[in-house]
């Protein structure tokens, strides 16, 4: 009974604003001229252009995933080997881009990669190239931008598993005769498999439906599926095909998601995570099944050990160089954006010829920008509060109670993290079409809450699982009723978690472009829509100013979060810094 009550608000909101519109979208794709028909699917299947788009999208998502894995692993591994203090600082550097608007980062890449941008200038000066490389408005730009945008999604799960691997396991392997690289391959790497799987799943799924970066960095002839959908809705008015394509994209994503749901639902588990490889199939088990492998390993043993010994020498430098380059990739956009904000040039050029505050004052004089800013602050803020209000009770229900629908409900509540925003936005656009809600701030409040609440649920679940419940038992033994315990012990201790949850939910709404594309109206234009138009139409240093202001606010919020954490954790900031 209690979990039902706790889950009721979020389930109602998700049903009305998310499940029903998506269901309507699927139904719409199965109709043509008001009758049941597979017409839209037949059209799509007969269109070679669409097949190319699908192939291009899958190839991009797969490549981005592999590149992210290859460069994120050394970084995550290096962070896991750092002292807690250094690790929390490095994680902050990884988190910062994750929390910064995709628009801002994409804008920075346009600057960085442009024909007269700093990268081309550097290469020209080094004599590596004789004329500027075309790296933007084609697939190079899309790949670079996507990797940078998705990288944190790979680093976090990898770090989470690597930090849990008992370092004495690798040492034990070494003491038993494995050179360090061999110990790494046999002990550390298998233990990281769960993180590799969840990181790859996240990056791949997120890349499949990505819209902003390909649209801004890509060329006109390299459309991806999300762009195809929005084009059909916003420009061509071909709603049936858009519905069919959205359905295909959504079902693909959900299918992949469900295949890996075991891993994802594990987050709900109370059991301590195993340090050891969960597969249980060791390499020796394999060679026992195939005697030929056994023989091969024996033959190769000598050379392979010598190779491992040789690798051991370059292992550390290679690790640190690779981790350093990856960190550089993550922070590069900020290196460009910050000086750009203080440019005195009337147009975009890097490095700025001279510095001034002209773009700051132009922002303050422009009521359009200010209106958009206040709109975004207001409605993203309201949605963040709403997300916390419905997400926190849901997290309590999911962590503290056992009921049969627990895992399905959890998957439903976190699914907006996975289902492409383009699909959700299109479904809302169709559901609200004709009503006065298009161009109404309430539509934004609803959609920001739907994409923000999953973050509050996930953050709160993690916080509640870490929470030491003995404290609640202690409070009960001291005469405190459950509600008083909640007020005096549980919530005060979870305050930092609540702050993080609210921060995430706020940023998700504040950054949104995709819902803005479909739901904006003359009286409802969020800030990212203004930025979007600016980047597409004139691309001025104005965006850099907003980026700098955004970074300042973000830094202030993080400091506040640290402060709250410090107060709660017994005034020991170094502890609350470390996740």
């Amino acid at each position: 009974m209690v979990p039902v009550l706790l889950l009721l608000p979020i389930v109602i909101l998700f049903s009305v604003g998310y499940v029903v519109p998506l269901a309507q979208l699927v139904l719409k794709s199965l109709q043509h001229d008001g009758a049941w028909s597979l017409n839209s699917y037949i059209e799509i299947a007969n269109s070679p252009a669409f097949l190319w788009i699908v192939l291009r999208t899958i190839a991009l998502a797969a490549t981005v995933t592999i590149v992210c894995l290859l460069i994120a692993y050394p970084l995550a591994y290096a962070i896991s080997k750092c002292s807690p203090r250094a690790a929390s600082l490095l994680l902050l550097i990884v988190t910062l881009p994750y929390l910064t608007s995709v628009l801002i980062r994409t804008y920075a890449w346009i600057v960085l990669l442009s024909p007269n941008g700093p990268i081309n200038q550097l290469f020209l000066r080094l004599g590596l190239i004789s004329e500027p490389l075309q790296m933007v408005f084609n697939s190079v730009g899309v790949y670079v931008g996507m990797v940078q945008v998705q990288l944190p999604l790979m680093v976090f799960p990898l770090y989470a598993v690597l930090a849990r691997v008992d370092p004495s396991l690798a040492k034990a392997a070494q003491s038993l005769g494995s050179p360090p690289t061999d110990a790494f391959l046999r002990v550390t790497l298998p233990a990281a498999i769960p993180g590799v799987i969840s990181g790859c799943t996240l990056v791949f799924l997120s890349s499949l439906g990505f819209y902003i970066t390909p649209e801004l960095l890509g060329g006109p002839d390299s459309y991806l599926i999300a762009q195809g959908i929005s084009l059909r809705v916003l420009i061509l008015g071909n709603f049936d095909e858009a519905a069919a394509q959205s359905t295909i994209l959504m079902l693909t994503v959900i299918a992949v998601f469900l295949i890996f749901r075991q891993r994802i639902a594990e987050e709900l588990d109370d059991r301590p995570h195993d340090n050891v490889s969960p597969s249980g199939k060791s390499s020796s088990g394999l060679s026992a099944r195939w005697p030929i492998l056994e023989r091969l390993t024996a033959v190769l043993h000598g050379p392979s050990m010598r190779l491992h010994e040789a690798l051991t020498v370059v292992r550390r430098p290679a690790l640190y160089v690779s981790a350093g380059l990856t960190l550089l990739l993550l922070v590069l956009p900020f290196v460009v954006v910050i000086p750009l904000a203080f440019s005195n040039a009337p147009y975009l050029t890097f490095p700025p010829p001279a510095y001034s505050l002209r773009w700051f004052s132009s922002l303050l004089k422009n009521t359009q920008w200010l209106d958009a800013l206040s709109f975004s602050l207001r409605w993203a803020g309201l949605s963040a509060l709403l997300s916390v209000a419905i997400g926190v009770p849901a997290a309590f229900a999911l962590v503290r109670y056992r009921f049969s629908a627990r895992v399905p409900v959890y998957l439903l509540l976190i699914s907006p993290l996975i289902v492409p925003h383009v699909v959700i936005a299109v479904s809302l656009f169709f559901a609200l079409a004709g009503s006065s809600l298009i161009g109404n701030p309430l539509a934004f409040a609803l959609s920001y809450t739907i994409i923000g609440a999953p973050y509050t649920v996930v953050v709160m679940i993690a916080g509640l699982k870490r929470f030491n419940r003995t404290l609640e038992l202690a409070a009960a033994s001291l005469g405190s009723s459950p509600l008083v315990t909640l007020r005096t012990v549980t919530l005060p201790l979870l305050l930092p978690t609540l702050a993080s949850a609210a921060l995430f939910a706020f940023i998700v709404g504040f950054d949104d472009v995709v819902f803005g594309l479909f739901l904006s109206g003359p009286t409802a234009t969020p800030l990212p829509m203004r930025m979007w138009d600016n980047i597409r139409l004139e691309i001025s240093p104005q965006i850099a100013v907003i980026a700098v202001l955004f970074l300042i606010v973000l830094a202030l919020l993080m400091l506040l979060r640290l402060f709250v954490g410090a107060v709660v954790q017994g005034r020991r900031p170094q502890q609350s810094l470390h996740p």
């Binding site: 003995t470 038992l473 202690a474 009960a476 033994s477 001291l478 005469g479 459950p482 709660v568």
Partner: protein, 375 residues
Amino acid sequence: MSVSTAMVSEKATAGVATSQSQRGSVSVNSLTKMFGPVKAVDDVSLSIEPGEFVALLGSSGSGKSTLLMMIAGFEVSSSGDIMLDGVRINDVPSHRRGFGMVFQSYALFPHMTIAENIAYPLRRRGLRGGDVEREVTKALKLVALDGYGARLPSQLSGGQQQRVALARALVFRPPLLLMDEPLGALDRKLRQQLQMEIKLIHKEVGSTIIFVTHDQEEALSMADRVAVLERGRLQQCGTPRELYEQPATAFVADFIGEMNFLPVELRRSGGEVCARSADVGLEVVQEASQVLTSGDRGLLAVRPEYIGLTPDERATATVLESAYTGTNQSVLVQVGSIRLTARTSVSPGRPLFQSGQRVRVEIEASHTRVFPAAR
């Protein structure tokens, strides 16, 4: 200093406590706890007098913690009764039972100062202002932490934190104090020091104490009575001396102190039973009422200190290994197909036993007990 003169609101134990001065008698009748098909606590009955200090002793998985959690109200029993001063309290929620509880992990609220932690149960009972302050000061004094009130738990050592937890659990003068392995996280020296302090505090406040531990030494040295649990069943509850000298089951005999077990054949005649060990060439006659088995095979239990060794070149027993511990020497002896551990006192001038030495083994029949063969 006596805490019992201070005033605490009678709301403290509303609904469960009687106003008698001798509160805190606990009895558990046929209590069972099922986790799925597993009986974590299996038909346990136990009765504890007011002011008594009882230890629940067992290895992990014995059910001792589950039993404590049921008494505390954190686990719901599957069947059976829990009575406090004659009132059934199974259905009273934990926060209304009014028992103090000390956890192994201390469970101090990290966001509150020491004083706020100790004031917590008082505030839940409606105390305000100066009353709270006075009680907190007294409680801190009781655990010898005067002046620590303004600190945070993280600024205290483990031993100090556990003393705060004790003060917090006692400040509202509960009729019953439950302690769940309270010293398990501390190092040996600190543990021994706190064992003494807890005994002294027990004398001072007079609450009934139920103390869970897996450390038999701790249980024997602290408790008035020890209840030994194994696989959910109560094996025996008695004074430390009873457990040591008259173990009721082979498990208790083995668990408490050191014990040798010899396989024996049993022959009954009249009111007596004769246990014969082929290996040692030993016959022990005991009254049938003392022999706890009905079969014709049994185990003879004898403690190392009741096995006498005499050097004898013609004897068949051989010393395998020995360990000198100052006043005693432990000697491992091979007798036929079995091995026995004997403990002999060392007297000045007499040589120690050496490996390979032949010895004659004598067992004092009056200090043996016979148990069923299948342990």
